[in-house]
């Protein structure tokens, strides 16, 4: 049997989603962003909603997300993606509007915008990447940084007296009547990836049915910021992040 005999449609087990562009991503090897981008692209492709999707990228590592997924994009100011998405969704109610934000963007500088967009029940999907650190600027403390966790701006570990507590913003958002589906996922194992994709698909389907705000947190790794290799990062996430940020549906 030769290679050409194997390349047949019936033998296809995996292909790159057509919506993912051929650009090489700027993400570090092992980073969760790449997997989540792929899942979002797969969901949009499978639902056949490329023409109807408008995406909003944040400031942070995913600022350049618009280079990688072939839908119309708006790049928002730091933290303001939910306000930008609010207007897009209100002005074009038939569109599938999603924001893609990190923890600094969503839970710190953009806390007001996300709370109020969710409280108004804006008909949007929010993908929230929580890796407990500012990746793009070089590993500073985030609102979700765990107590005792070392970062560039908490070099002796996060001290509650000095820095306050890590913010469980997803729990807060689940309290808001405007949100319909609030879930916390991860992408560290094949099973977790499949579950996460299901959650993202459900979120997009719910927006199609105009059910209000859909919030998908993905607890993620940042090997560069955490100064661990990808395998160790996953292990550290399971041991330290999951007890504080437990996976599962919070609502809907």
């Amino acid at each position: 049997m030769e290679v050409k005999d194997i390349i047949k449609p019936e033998n296809l087990v995996y292909k790159k989603p057509s919506l993912l562009t051929d650009k090489v991503t700027h993400y570090c090897p092992g980073c969760s962003h790449g997997v989540v981008h792929k899942l979002v692209a797969e969901v949009i492709e499978e639902m056949g909603i490329q023409e109807k999707t408008i995406a909003v990228s944040p400031v942070g590592c995913a600022v350049l997300a618009y280079n990688y997924i072939s839908v119309d994009w708006q790049e928002a100011a730091h933290g303001r993606a939910p306000a930008v998405a609010t207007a897009i969704s209100r002005l074009m109610p038939e569109k599938y509007v999603f924001t893609y934000q990190g923890d600094g963007d969503l839970a710190s500088i953009g806390a007001a915008e996300i709370i109020h967009a969710c409280n108004r029940g804006e008909n949007i999907v929010v993908i929230f990447i929580n890796n407990a650190i500012y990746g793009m600027t070089g590993g500073q403390m985030a609102p979700t940084t765990l107590v005792g966790m070392k970062t560039a701006t908490s070099p002796y570990g996060r001290d509650v007296k000095l820095n306050g507590h890590p913010l469980k913003i997803t729990e807060l958002i689940a309290q808001l009547p405007g949100t319909e589906f609030v879930t916390r996922q991860a992408v560290h194992t094949p099973a977790a990836v499949r579950k996460c994709k299901k959650a993202i698909l459900k979120a997009f389907q719910n927006v199609g049915e105009k059910k209000g705000t859909q919030f998908v947190e993905v607890v993620s790794t940042c090997n560069s910021g955490w100064k661990l290799n990808p395998v160790k990062s996953n292990e550290w996430m399971v041991e330290n992040m999951f007890p504080f940020y437990p996976l599962g549906d919070l609502k809907g």
Partner: protein, 362 residues
């Protein structure tokens, strides 16, 4: 048939927005311009034209909603007053950087800080010279009547889309709060989705179709050489605007020996002041800039060759006067007269000022 009404300047902004086919208004309450959103909420234009009106959680959210709406190729606007406009500066520079068309109304009150709720013209520098970070300009229109509050909404949107640039109506608490007769604009329907795709589909996020690549609205460029090229593109655009869009009004300037330069409510007061001057035999004319960016530099330069002096009258500590001085370039004296903190000059004060600061100076 022409539709004449007696209305407040702020109310007219709302009515003009609905009539010119505006797609969305996003605002946050602040004195002295809250009547704009109040009028819109009372009029319920979503039932009439489909226009979206939303009270945002902050001025910051409101201007970012404008970014989102403008990015879709829609006619969207916000309004606020000085402290709120300061909050919007982040969004405004992103809008300028992403080359998005929109309308921003500033009904100016006195500052700095929380200042006063009374009228002032102390946001000239912020409006004309930048306001936010980076090299950019707004197109700035300065209404001097309730009629111009009506007219500049449609004009503002036309200029915004012509140049893909944010436009500011720089009004003040006097023009916003006073009532005058106004001829309202004819009703224009909102653009259809097909019209938006046709007019703005090359850049706006209308949804990626098979016939085009996907569109990206962004102000980010990490490659310095490309960012520099983009900066030059903006400079070229601003130079075209300087060449083509200067608007001003001249009153009694033909035989004038002295010129008052004033915009907005100060120009209304100065109009009375030049009448009082003429009654005293003083040949004083009024130049009223209508666009503050682009500024009527060329006409001031020409006037400087044949008059003996200029007085800039503005309710600020002396901001626009700097642009008069740049245009006059030392040929003749240029002085400033202003009241501050929400105080409004009287015509007699202006007459005294031009006599003491310009005419009677040996």
């Amino acid at each position: 048939m022409a539709d004449y009404r007696l209305m407040k300047g702020n109310e007219v902004i709302a009515e003009a927005a609905i009539r010119c086919g505006c797609d969305g208004y996003f605002g946050y309450p602040i004195t002295p311009q809250s009547e704009i959103m109040e009028t819109l909420m009372d009029r319920k234009p979503w039932e009439e034209t489909g226009m979206v009106v939303l009270q945002a959680e902050s001025e910051i959210a409101a201007i970012n909603m404008v970014y989102g709406g403008a990015g879709c190729g829609k006619k969207v606007m916000t309004s606020s007053s000085s402290p709120g406009i300061s909050l919007k500066q982040e969004g405004i520079t992103y809008i300028a950087g992403a080359e998005l068309p929109c309308l921003i109304v500033n009904v100016v009150r006195g500052g700095p800080g929380l200042g006063t709720i009374q009228p002032a013209q102390s946001d000239y520098f912020q409006a004309v010279k930048g306001g936010g970070h980076g090299d950019y300009h707004l197109i700035v229109l300065a209404p001097a009547s309730v009629q111009e509050m009506n007219d500049f909404v449609g004009l503002g949107f036309d200029l915004a889309f012509k140049y893909r640039n944010p436009v500011m109506i720089l009004s003040d608490g006097v023009i916003g709060q006073m009532m005058e007769k106004v001829k309202l604009s004819d009703v224009k329907p909102r653009w259809t989705e097909a019209e938006i795709r046709k007019n703005n589909g090359t850049w706006a996020t209308t949804g990626k179709t098979a016939d085009r690549d996907y569109n990206i609205i962004t102000s980010l460029e990490l490659d310095s050489s490309r960012q520099e090229k983009f900066n030059h593109k903006l400079i070229d655009k601003y130079n075209i605007i300087r060449e083509k869009e200067v608007r001003y009004e001249m009153i009694d300037c033909e035989d004038a020996e002295y010129i008052i330069v004033a915009y907005g409510s100060s120009s209304r007061i100065s109009q009375k002041a030049i009448q009082l001057c003429r009654a005293k035999g003083l040949k004083v004319g009024l130049l009223r800039p209508i666009t503050l960016f682009p500024y009527p530099t060329e006409i001031i330069r020409e006037l400087a060759d044949r008059v003996k002096g200029f007085l800039a009258v503005e309710m600020s500590a002396g901001q626009m006067v700097e642009d008069v001085r740049l245009a006059v370039n030392g040929k003749v004296p240029v002085e400033h007269y202003g009241r501050l903190g929400g105080m409004i000059p009287t015509p007699n004060e202006v007459v005294t000022a031009i006599e003491e600061k310009i005419i009677n100076v040996k």
